[in-house]
Amino acid sequence: MPVPLLKLTNVNKSFGPIDVLHGISLEIFAGETLCLLGDNGAGKSTLIKILSGVHKPTTGAVEMDGAPLAFDSPRDAAERGIATVHQFGGTFPLMSIGRSFFVGAEPTRRVGPLRVFDRKTANETAVRAVRKLGITRIDDGDRLVGGLSGGERQALAIARAVHFGAKVLILDEPTAALGVKEAAHVLRIVLQARQSGIAVVFITHNVVHALTVGDHFAVLIRGAKAADFRKGEKSREEITDLMAGGEHMAELEAEIEGFNAAAGQAPEAVR
């Protein structure tokens, strides 16, 4: 077995008296997508906040490239190549595309004794980076980030991570607020990032999205890892049941179909 890029062993996390994660062990490999699945409140965001240096595990070990480590801060994790696009926030809606792309790493050029922000380079680099991900509607780096659609903002954040040489790209529910077409764009970009050798951690509670991009899956139920399997090892129905906490979603779906049939409608899949 190759050495995992990131490895969690028996990680627990509690906030005061509230236990959020119990005994989580996970391995993340370069060039692979790990899908973290689970219902709302299962602890997915908390888990990736441990990977991105926002939280420290209460107990348990984190290893990177086989060496134990503890992130001091999100900055520390970012410097080691872990780029995270958090579920909420993380972009600056009133900043231009070029400026927000380079926050904290602004390109400058010398003008006499002064160091001047190189707007032209920043804009061109940012626009080129998102266009490379297939978002060709963005052509002006002076436009405000707030004018972009949700999918375009995700693409901008991913492009930024790729540009700054991320080894691990963590995306917390990147498709949750998107329409069908936008979500498909983001999924394509995730596949593109993975192909370039980046390890991707992709959080979703949409099984179809997960099956589209995932190589390897972990299902969280109430803070514990309920299953861990590779692509092709489980069917969509099995995964759906797992995510619903082991309840038989098929029965529920059949019941719904029953209602639909009674109403004289063509039976439709729930998802």
């Binding site: 190759p2 890029l5 490999f29 370069a30 060039g31 692979e32 801060s73 999100p74 900055r75 190549g81 926030g89 993380g90 972009t91 600056f92 809606p93 009133l94 900043m95 400026r99 927000s100 380079f102 926050v103 904290g104 790493a105 602004e106 400058t108 002064l114 001047v116 922000f117 804009n123 061109e124 680099t125 626009v127 080129r128 980076a129 266009r131 490379k132 060709t136 509607r137 963005i138 052509d139 002006d140 780096g141 436009r143 405000l144 707030g146 004018g147 972009l148 659609s149 375009e152 540009h163 040489g165 991320a166 080894k167 370039s196 050798g197 980046i198 190589d215 390897h216 590779r230 692509k231």
Partner: protein, 357 residues
């Protein structure tokens, strides 16, 4: 794609090729783009106010004296509004400028007027006082996480108390005379052509410096990011604590400069001057299109907002109207500015959403 071989092969590929990228097209600049700039709203407001007072104020308002009267007010307010604007963009308020100003006036007057120290010593002492109070504000905001509104309200009163107390102890009075020698007088606090305060030139200098900092240096990007989302800004590696302290020190310094300038200009200092600058600077900045909640603003906008305020404040005396109406106009302007700026901001944000030609 899930084989061990592909895992191993791709471990070290952090930055995929830059070369295969499609070329970035040239950014387009257009009148439409200009119209969508949020500070365009403040420029329109300035033009409207100027037209209004040109009409009702007549030739007197448009004479050199008329210009001097509002430019003098604008320059002192403007020197303070610039750093207050930077702070607001960064998501902070500074109320303490209202007492740093008289404290600084009293410092230069006591040190160089009452005790006869060289004027340079008095000037440096007053500026140092502004920097020190600014540092205190910044450090308290960063350490305690108490909102800056409360922190600077506390220092506003504390500084007022110290100024009054120490002035009475040291001079037995609440007003002190100061006669500044040349060249300090001519450079800092005098009239050019009998009408225009030297502070106008200092204001222009401050505009150039702050324009550079906010729009042309990397620090400007840090300020915008800090006000836009402090958590993300910190995660991006911006030294947000030091930046916050530096911004409070800048507003302390500028308030102290204006206090010192007034003492030299008027040849005396009073403990009670300056309170009006608290609200006026906030009004100028907000009328100038700076977002009250931080994350957006321009130096051009702050300058337009400052001029608008000064024109209303002084222009009223050139009309036949009761001067009390100036406050009503400023109130209406403030509301209109906030609404108009929201519209412009929404337009600017929605630009990319229209379908591509």
């Amino acid at each position: 794609m899930t084989s061990d071989a592909s895992r191993a092969a791709t471990t070290a590929a952090p930055n995929p090729a830059q070369d295969a990228a499609p070329p970035a097209p040239r950014a387009r600049r257009s009148l439409g783009g200009l119209l969508r700039r949020p500070e365009t709203g403040s420029l329109i407001g300035l033009a409207a106010v100027f037209a209004f007072f040109s009409f009702f104020g007549g030739a007197d308002f448009l004479s050199a004296g008329g210009f001097a009267s509002w430019l003098n007010v604008a320059s002192e307010l403007g020197i303070i509004a610039l750093p207050v604007g930077l702070l607001m963009i960064a998501g902070q308020l500074d109320l303490s400028i209202g007492t740093i100003l008289p404290a600084s006036s009293m410092t230069v007057a006591i040190v160089s007027g009452r005790f006869g120290a060289p004027i340079v010593v008095g000037i440096l002492a007053s500026l140092a006082l502004g920097l020190a109070v600014g540092y205190l504000n910044g450090a308290l905001v960063v350490r305690t996480k108490v909102p800056s509104f409360v922190v600077t309200l506390a220092t506003l009163f504390a500084v007022a108390g110290f100024t009054l107390g120490l002035s009475v102890i040291l001079t037995g009075s609440t007003s002190v005379a100061l006669t500044a020698p040349e060249p300090a007088k001519g450079l800092i606090g005098d009239y050019v052509g009998g009408k225009f305060q030297t502070s106008i030139f200092w204001w222009i200098g401050a505009v150039v410096v702050v324009e550079f900092v906010l729009h042309r240096s990397r620090y400007g990007n840090w300020i915008l990011a800090l006000g836009g989302d402090p958590v993300s800004a910190r995660n991006a590696g911006i030294p947000v604590d030091r930046l916050t302290i530096a911004l409070f020190m800048a507003s302390g310094l500028c308030a102290a400069f204006v206090g010192m300038e007034q003492a030299i200009l008027f040849n005396s200092a009073q403990v009670s001057a300056g309170q009006s600058f608290i609200f006026n600077s906030i009004i100028a900045v907000v009328v100038g299109g700076v977002l009250l909640t931080g994350g957006y603003g321009t130096v051009a906008g702050i300058v337009f907002g400052t001029m608008t305020f000064a024109i209303v404040n002084q222009g009223i005396f050139y009309t036949g109207f009761d001067a009390n109406w100036a406050s009503a106009i400023i109130g209406a302007l403030l509301l209109a500015a906030v609404l108009m700026n929201n519209t412009f901001r929404n337009m600017a944000m929605s630009v990319a959403a229209r379908p591509k030609a």
